[in-house]
Amino acid sequence: MKKFLAIVLSVLMLVALVACGATTTTETPPVEAETPAPTPAQTPDEDEEDDEPAGGTLTVWCWDPTFNIFAMEEAARIYAEMNPGFELNIVDMAWDDIQIALTTAATAGNLDVLPDIVLMQDNAFQMNVINFPELFLDLTNSGIPFNEFAAAKAGMSMVNGNNFGVPFDNGTTITALRTDVLEEAGYTMEDFENVTWNEFIELGRSVLAQTGMPLLATEAGGGDYIAFMLQSAGVSLFNADGSPNIADNAALIEAINVYLELVESGVVLEVNNWDEYIGSFVNGTVAGTIAGCWILGSVQSADDQAGNWGVMSIPRLDIPGGTNYSNWGGSSWAVTSNANAELAIDFLRHTFAGSTELYEVILPAAGALSTWAPAANSTVYAEPQPFFGGQAVFADIVRFSGNVPAITTGVFFYEARDAVGFAVVDILGGADIEQALQEAQDLLVFQIG
């Protein structure tokens, strides 16, 4: 009965999500206004000629209005110029909800509910393609120039040498800080250059003491912090053979100690959900944030703080192999097997995999750093950004991104991250680090096996 309820509830939720999600339809220029627009649910008729699909509607699931949705709207505008009559139906769905919707569709064997294009976290990409091969189109021979993308990034959406995703944004981690607050405490951005975490915490204590503002906020548990700290030292939660590397992982223990110190010193404010986190720096509760560079879209939503932000690379762990560079997040576009494949592929080929113009628009506005090589050479990257006090932040981030150590994440990335997150909660509650990590390792081994 519970199983049945679970399915009914999930289906209801799915329907509700699709129905309630803020639907943004990007209309083509007013010339087309007279033609009756096809309803989003209808799949447009296949065009007779195979090469250039005219008009048509695509549905996309993605999240974050300041970033992914904004980028998709711009892409739709650019594509509609070369393909009049084209419409894009963007459904705003949180990543967690997209994952649940994909799982439900695959488990129920009902692929009709899927949109044409889905945005997927890179860390979940291989997991989903391996678990649900029937859900996604193999794009290897679709004509999309995958060799023009950064190899490491394109590799995140590859399974068995085949491409299943069109790479989108880069998740190089950055420290973004309020220069006006630092000034009040007698510091500049340069003081945060190439620091270790211990030095960073000392600076943070000083800023906190003088201004009353913590430097950072993060979602409680610190799973994300620990994940990017580990990657900055080139360490993974998995060994090369896929077995968990949690217990007796010296870098992990160091990262957890740093995190505990950050919380106990008050330099990091723990919040309980993502909205609180975004609010922490937009409302000025804290003086900055550390996250993937995609956070710049949200940072720039605080107009009143324009000119008062600076961007620096992140602190490093004080261990052999520790660097000031890491990666957090990043996502790629997948085409589902329920898609109007021809149109969806053509759309992606002429926008995210073929339009420098697109990246030149979304880069300064949203911080959407391209992983498509032709766009990375654009002069826009070198332009000083007024919001960041004239710093050419994107040139700096591109420089950071070249130094990020590569690590293996694997299919069980989320389980590993959660297991460590649970251990950190126990440790914050007074448990012994080594014992908590051993339990986390056992849990992960249990979940994999």
């Binding site: 199983k3 049945f4 695959a106 678990n131 309980n272």
Partner: protein, 302 residues
């Protein structure tokens, strides 16, 4: 009468009783069919899935693997103890409060009874997700509760309600009490109104004080209703999902996560394992059945 007599003469094979029986069964058949289709079939099917292992459409028969796995699963054990904590703390408090409120509001001389009844029942009309989100906002670090407690002088700095295991569980229990007490009170009120007032009158003449009236008359006569609410609350608490999912998101860690939330997470998040999730669901089903049976044995004296 005449009609049915004529009918009998035409079809002498069916007696009147048989005919009535058949009519009854015909009416029952629809409901029974629906219950079999929508309740029993999914139960059997769920058990069948619980015997399988795999991802998505690639499921293979795995025998009792999932059930053996359950006994070794530290997360499932933790969610069971959390859920039973909610059950043991919340259900008695809620039922006693509901009973007390109901007997107070059953007083005919009380002014504004209607307003009080409505006010106490009103939380039940609020959507589960909506109230969970409001509670989450209220108990946020810079939320209403902390602001009040700091301004009144009870706390010096805010308490991270949802970031600490014991207080996150407390917030869930508070939420449940707020949301469901009025619901149970309505059942008790209905039960109380079925008790003949003359019984109380007789008791008063015999010299029984209000306390004795409550224990000797109200409680015994309400027993079937109390049994009903106890079973419903137990059942509801063991299947608690919305509060865990939306209010605390199971956190910190999984310290406030319920069994149903664990099933949801296993079935739909990360690498999904619907077979294992079905096995967990089956275990909850057995638990609910056993507890309901126990309560009926204890509570039903007919």
């Amino acid at each position: 009468m005449q009609m049915s007599e004529r009918a009998i003469t035409r079809k002498p094979k069916l007696s009147l009783a048989q005919k009535r029986g058949l009519t009854g069964w015909a009416f029952l058949a629809v409901a029974a069919g629906l219950i079999i289709w929508m309740n029993f079939y999914p139960m059997v099917r769920g058990f069948y899935i619980a015997l399988q292992s795999g991802v998505g459409a690639n499921m293979q028969f795995a025998g009792d693997l999932n059930f053996r796995r359950l006994f070794a699963d530290p997360q499932f054990r933790q969610t069971i103890s959390t859920t039973f904590l909610y059950l043991v703390v919340q259900v008695p408090i809620m039922l006693l409060t509901a009973l007390a409120l109901a007997s107070m509001l059953n007083n005919r001389n009380l002014k504004g009874r209607g307003i009080f009844r409505t006010a106490i029942f009103l939380p039940c009309t609020v959507g589960l997700v909506a109230y969970a989100l409001v509670f989450r906002q209220m108990f946020a670090f810079d939320g209403l509760i902390n602001t009040i407690l700091i301004n009144v002088g009870i706390l010096e700095t805010g308490h991270n309600w949802l970031g600490t295991a014991w207080s996150a569980r407390l917030v869930i229990i508070l939420g449940l009490l707020w949301r469901w007490t009025g619901f149970n009170m309505i059942f008790y009120l209905a039960g109380l109104q079925n008790i003949d007032r003359s019984i109380y009158e007789a008791a008063r003449i015999d010299g029984a004080n209000p306390f004795q009236q409550f224990w000797k008359i109200t409680i015994p006569l309400l027993r079937p209703v109390i049994l009903l609410t106890a079973i419903m609350s137990t059942n509801g608490t063991l299947q608690l999902l919305d509060e865990s999912l939306n209010l605390t998101m199971g956190g910190p860690g999984i310290t406030s996560r319920t069994m149903a939330h664990q099933i949801f997470a296993t079935a739909f998040q990360g690498n999904p394992n619907i077979g294992y999730a079905s096995a967990m669901a089956f275990v909850i089903f057995v638990m609910v059945a056993v507890l309901a049976l126990l309560q009926m044995k204890v509570g039903d004296k007919r």
